[in-house]
Symmetry: C2
Subunit: 294 residues, 2 copies
């Protein structure tokens, strides 16, 4: 997905938010906004939003000298989600279609990201997910939730590449992967994380902390931007990407970054008006769509 | 109120919105955003948001060559609100405290502004107001709704200066003014509008169209910015401002523009997070506060 003009105000908002998280003084915050403004004339709207994100968050890191301003948020998200692990597992195991429920929870887990960044009560939201009361659970928006196609493709696949998104959400991914492995023990699952800190995206240490390694191989995409922009990934990662039978791509950032490629399924919650408009869904909708249908 | 750093992303958003309303091409929209970005280094946060608004909307008007991009929106708002006039009057006359209800409706009428600019269903919102079901009606947020002080001050005043806000909302203002005149026929009411188009703010023609002249004298502040920035008003208007016994200031823009001055009552709906935080209320709260308490 290319960058829309509507993304520009949001870049400033994100820069301000990240500057504050990095503990920047008001004067530094203003300087950062100025720097972003200076970069505007050379902005190419052909770049994807995650590439823009890299430039913006990179600028914030440089000017605040904080390489990982979201560290505490990531740690908090991991802890919050891990605390729910047992309850989530019970939820899944007591359901009729445990794969579907695990899948829905994995997408709903994306709310953590939204929550931590928007002062939403994360615990409350997670409770809603647990009680299955969350109004956004996929079944209600069937148009964008193609479970059948996904299920069939998954069954046939040997190697599954799972592109992770945010810290915390990783626990929900783990439960989904565990469900896949329970149903298909012989399938190989690779879980891709970012190489360096970018916003609250999961790094290898987050994936390990959340226990992903118990059912999947953790690999790095080599990236420090908030979406899988393939030309910027390591050659090793690209080889895995190209060979995988199915790619489960989590989150808006990966959706924004990846073009039309086969075997790709996007799983995300539409969190911004630009993405929602691009997809044709509503903000808050839970999306499971095969790439070719986008 | 000074401009906060959080206003900066919003300036870009407003510029984009206004550019589109003015029918600008994508390339012009981008040029406008660049121009706003170029102005950022010289931006003084000591200026009030309406002063910034003047610069931004002025830039859009200049670059799109459209002096009044909100013209159609204003006309639509006037028509929508006028259609409700009789129903609103019945609502007021059938209530126990008709002045209070007219006052609450006048503030709730501020939703039109929010609606037309944010694709909210205006008719639906107005219906809610009519059914008195609107969750935001003042009584629920008493902390920011000082009716008693206002009522006492109004009773003692001879000359009332009413600072209008948006087109459409003007119908609600008219009903409130009619209620004041019904209760106190001898009081003189002056209704101030903007001199030149700025966003969807009411001009003299909007006030006449909505029938304000039947119970108040319509005067111009001389302004082309979205809030009563006194040093920029005409000397004639400032004399009226300084002599008025009570000033009823409608809308966020006037609240943002006016500093600590006596006899001022702010009536508005808190529509943005920055204003809500500044006041200490929630977004959507209906505010009636004497200036000295802010």
């Amino acid at each position: 997905m290319r960058t829309y003009l509507d993304c520009i105000p949001c870049f400033f908002k994100q820069a301000l938010e990240a500057s504050r998280l990095a503990g920047a003084s008001k004067s530094t915050q203003k300087k950062i906004l100025r720097k972003i403004a200076q970069g505007l004339p050379s902005l190419s709207l052909k770049k994807t939003p995650p590439e823009m994100g890299q430039a913006i968050y990179g600028q914030v890191a440089k000017m605040t000298k904080k390489k990982d301003p979201y560290l505490k948020i990531k740690q908090k998200s991991n802890r919050l989600a891990l605390r729910l692990y047992k309850k989530l597992k019970n939820k899944v195991s007591s359901s009729k279609d445990s794969l579907l429920v695990a899948l829905e929870l994995a997408i709903a887990g994306n709310i953590i990201d939204y929550g931590v960044k928007n002062s939403l009560n994360v615990t409350e939201e997670l409770d809603k997910i647990l009680r299955y009361e969350h109004k956004l659970i996929g079944k209600e928006s069937k148009k964008f939730f193609d479970y059948e196609t996904f299920r069939k493709k998954l069954k046939k696949s040997k190697t599954i590449l799972y592109l992770g998104d945010n810290a915390g959400e990783t626990v929900f991914d783990r439960i989904f992967i565990e469900e896949i492995k329970k149903k298909y023990p012989k399938k190989r699952v690779l879980y891709a994380v970012k190489e360096k800190p970018i916003i609250n995206d999961a790094l290898a240490k987050d994936a390990y902390f959340c226990g992903i390694h118990k059912s999947a191989e953790i690999i790095s995409s080599g990236l420090d931007l908030p979406g899988t922009v393939l030309p910027k990934c390591t050659p090793a990662f690209r080889r895995i990407f190209n060979k995988a039978d199915i790619i489960i791509s989590k989150g808006q950032g990966n959706f924004e970054a990846l073009g039309k490629r086969g075997n790709l399924f996007f799983l995300f919650m539409a969190k911004c008006p630009v993405v929602a408009r691009h997809v044709g869904c509503n903000i808050g909708d839970i999306i499971l769509l095969q790439n070719k249908k986008m």
